[in-house]
Symmetry: C2
Subunit: 141 residues, 2 copies
């Protein structure tokens, strides 16, 4: 049973200093985490991430100059073992695996699958980010 | 005070019959609403929409063949009167107004603003979709 849940929406950005005022002053939102390459905002049961485009493209294994739409949506699963089977099921129903599941440097386990229109889903296990029974995801470290 | 809340993630699709198995059978999710042009899934405090690309492009006032990334993120506000002031504040902080706020045929009130990287936010009031104090959005009719 896969929760009907979006864990993260990640938008690729060229310049965090340029983007931050739009989110922090335009919307008036406060980041829960900021580094020199990524900002996270705790939203209503999911995260909004702003990540430098080349980093996002490399993580997705996409060419940043090609069919790259500079955004991804993550669905997080409760265990690392649940990542690959869900990716395979998506591939069996019209998806394309962009990156087989492996362990990123920041921890956890993840892979990427494109839907039939090339929208990219990250299927991930992130042990640091709790998900409650209603599917609401919280930032953790 | 603008809630830190995403109300809808809308993905543009070419063919609903092609996309539906990816979501309904791959992820195993059940739509809460389906018509011949749009599918909605009730997620963890927000909606996931799959909408025919030409309809989404027209709604955003974008050229479907141009710089069109076939997705939008909605932030819903509690009143119609709150839509335009937030759009103006976003425009004052690096955003570009794509479509001034007006009333769509399906009801409510909305406009579109692109962020500095051309990611498109719909700022909307939808009286049919309740938002609780935690920012969790529910499908309603």
């Amino acid at each position: 049973m896969v929760q009907q849940q979006i864990s993260v929406v990640t938008l690729g950005v060229d310049d965090l200093a340029r983007s931050r005022p739009f989110y922090a002053d335009g919307f008036g939102w406060t980041p829960v985490f900021a580094s020199d390459e990524i900002l996270f905002f705790q939203m209503n049961g999911l995260m909004l991430g702003l990540w430098l485009k080349p980093k996002l493209a490399a993580d997705m294994r996409r060419d940043a100059d090609g069919e790259f739409h500079a955004f991804s949506i993550a669905h997080n699963v409760p265990t690392a073992a649940a990542v690959a089977p869900l990716m395979e099921r998506l591939a069996a129903h019209g998806g394309t695996i962009l990156r087989a599941a492996d362990a990123p440097p920041h921890g956890g386990f993840r892979g990427y699958v494109a839907d039939p229109d090339n929208h990219v889903w990250e299927i991930a296990h992130n042990p640091a980010w709790p998900i409650d029974e209603d599917g609401h995801v919280s930032f953790g470290t």
